[in-house]
């Protein structure tokens, strides 16, 4: 077995939390059950990984098999990585049958024709997700196995989720290979990024609960509305205000759980407007700002602002549009014309 492969396997096993090593090796399936029985999982991880390497040596592991173990690790710990979303476009509405073998062949061929030194590994999962791992080299150097790119493609959709390695220069080639292999003609990066791969899928596949226009003719009574610390001092006026806020919130956010995003960023290039009485800045140039919202669970956080008294209800569409516009990076400019108070986001 190649020394570099041995070292790579050793380091991959070291990343795994000790009580998950056995499970991951079983998922990998490269070592037999009998071999796994010989491993002592209660010793120091250093020793465990050395023993694993020895067993892999017995089985003559090569980089292809080691790469599969890496995919398994990254599939389970997918939220450690930052994912971007790409959308592919077809030129015509052809009904094509997706052939996974054909896809893999075309993908490998396209990449290898441009780059000799590249390691390409595929793994399919039950939810129709195809995981692709690409380790990049140069014409003169073997692929760097420690900085691979990961691609997750759901073949029934035009969406590709990418966790690129640091080498951004490989992206064009990767994009090319994807559209060639999947028979699309164009691909563009969406303004949507998160650590939570599932949340990105929820957003683009529209799997979250969307806002329905609830048609309530009378205010909600009693139990439906959770009034925090139901204070008996809250008189009817305050209660109906709280209910109004709650209702508007539900309309705009939906009542189900929100997709999990960690941040949203807005580049504002709008005009500064002030009360003329204040006699302040009245420039004809935009007031340039960069606003970033961050939270362990951004959308739930934004949803709680109005009930907490921190924001008006309904909340600004700039924030509430995040899931259905499928983006969390925005550039906002002033909309010219009839309604100077509104914004466009290109």
């Amino acid at each position: 077995m190649d020394d570099t492969v041995a070292e790579y396997i050793r380091r991959t096993v070291l990343k795994i939390p000790r009580d998950e090593i056995k499970m991951m090796l079983q998922k990998w399936g490269f070592l037999s059950e009998a071999q796994l029985q010989t491993l002592n999982f209660h010793q120091m991880k250093d020793n465990i990984s050395q023993e694993v390497v020895q067993l892999c040596e017995e089985n003559s592991a090569d980089i292809k098999q080691a790469a599969v173990l890496d995919i398994i690790y990254n599939h389970i710990y997918q939220n450690k990585r930052m994912w971007s979303v790409y959308q592919m476009k077809k030129s015509a509405e052809e009904l094509e049958y997706f052939d996974i073998k054909d896809f893999k062949k075309k993908f490998k061929r396209r990449l290898r024709s441009a780059l000799k030194n590249v390691t390409i590994t595929f793994k399919e999962y039950e939810d129709n997700a195809i995981w692709i791992r690409v380790a990049w080299g140069t014409p003169y150097k073997k692929p760097n196995q420690y900085k691979p790119s990961y691609v997750v493609y759901h073949s029934q959709t035009p969406y590709v989720f990418v966790s690129a390695s640091v080498l951004k220069s490989n992206m064009p080639l990767l994009c090319q290979a994807l559209i060639v292999a999947s028979n699309y003609h164009d691909i563009r990066e969406m303004e949507l990024r998160s650590h939570s791969l599932n949340s990105l899928k929820d957003i683009v596949f529209k799997r979250y609960s969307q806002n329905f226009q609830t048609c309530t003719t009378k205010p909600l009574q009693g139990g439906n509305v959770e009034l925090e610390n139901a204070d008996i001092r809250i008189i009817q006026e305050n209660r109906s205000e709280k209910e109004r806020i709650h209702r508007l919130n539900e309309e705009v956010f939906g009542s189900g759980p929100q997709p999990k995003l960690e941040f949203a960023q807005y580049r504002l290039e709008t005009m500064f407007k002030s009360d003329p009485k204040m006699d302040v800045l009245d420039k004809k140039e935009p007031f340039r700002c960069l606003v970033k919202f961050s939270s362990p669970h951004l959308l739930e956080s934004l949803k709680s602002l109005a009930p907490a008294g921190m924001a008006d209800a309904p909340l600004s569409p700039l924030l509430t549009c995040i899931p259905h516009k499928a983006r969390n990076y925005f550039k906002i400019r002033e909309k010219k014309g009839l309604f100077p108070g509104s914004f466009v986001s290109p």
Partner: protein
């Protein structure tokens, strides 16, 4: 407005671009400038003794701590101020006995920049250096602080910076004229009490922030609370117009400009030497308010 006195940039270079933790210090009793060498020796001995007692200062390595005390004559506002006092802790690893191996592990300095409010009415025998800034492990800060407290009967207290003071700072610093391309004027807010906490960073292009401040400030060279409020209200209103969020109800925790940055926990970083006296003057004022 920050007075732009000529401070020797060489001497003060070490102050810039470091995160300093702020304290207020009550006047020192019977502090003698002439005895700096003695004090350094006494402080060294104190630190060594505390280590013997088992006060683990740093992990692992056996460090021999050498103390140096010096005066920074330039670092003061007027002749009425005491010159700043610098305390430096250097380590010499016992493994290597070469004297060139001294490594600076901690520094702290006492300062008074136009601190007349406090020094004016002090009885003799008291030295007023109300602002203390430290950089390095907190364990060393505690050691140095307790020695000073014991020796000069003074009291150190962490200096928190209120949102109101942070607003003052950002308005003032946003208006500073700078030669080179400046970094953004950034305000960081926190909304902690939600089920999912939210942080908001609001960064404004420095030219636009300065343009706004210039129209708010009525008299060059003077800043009033009212002007700071107007400036902040403008920023809050612009934000509300877009997001419908009442930023004024959130907690302002940090402000950052090309001149300096400040955090509500009482941590500052000064980036421009020409505005150093102005920043120190503001901080001295805060320290004095906390003491009185």
């Amino acid at each position: 407005v920050p007075p732009q006195e000529s401070v020797d940039p060489q001497k003060t270079a070490f102050l810039l671009r470091k995160a300093w933790t702020l304290y207020s210090v009550t006047p020192l009793y019977r502090f003698r400038r002439a005895r700096l060498r003695d004090y350094a020796r006494l402080l060294s001995a104190f630190i060594a003794a505390e280590k013997q007692k088992g006060l683990a200062v740093e992990v692992g390595v056996e460090l021999d701590i050498k103390v140096a005390l010096s005066s920074l004559a330039d670092l003061r506002g007027s002749e009425l101020d005491q010159a700043a006092l610098l305390v430096q802790l250097c380590s010499r690893s016992q493994a290597s006995s070469r004297s060139s191996e001294d490594k600076l592990v901690w520094s702290g300095w006492f300062c008074s920049m136009f601190g007349d409010d406090l020094s004016e009415n002090l009885p003799e025998d008291f030295t007023s250096l109300p602002l203390f800034l430290s950089h390095g492990a907190e364990s060393y800060t505690t050691l140095v602080g307790s020695w000073f407290q014991k020796t000069f009967d003074c009291c150190f207290r962490r200096l928190a910076i209120s949102p109101q003071n942070l607003s003052w700072m950002v308005a003032m610093w946003a208006g500073c004229k700078l030669d080179r391309a400046a970094s953004a004027v950034e305000l960081v807010f926190s909304v902690p009490r939600l089920a999912q906490p939210l942080d908001i960073s609001y960064a404004i292009h420095p030219e636009d922030a300065k343009a706004l401040w210039d129209t708010v400030q009525k008299t060059p060279g003077e800043i009033s609370q009212e002007e700071v409020d107007v400036f902040m209200d403008c920023l809050y209103a612009h934000f509300h117009r877009h997001f419908k969020i009442h930023l004024a109800a959130a907690k302002l925790v940090k402000v950052s400009t090309a001149v300096a940055s400040a955090h509500c926990d009482g941590i500052v970083k000064i980036l421009q030497s020409q505005y150093l006296p102005g920043v120190l003057m503001l901080l001295t004022e805060l320290a004095i308010s906390q003491i009185q």
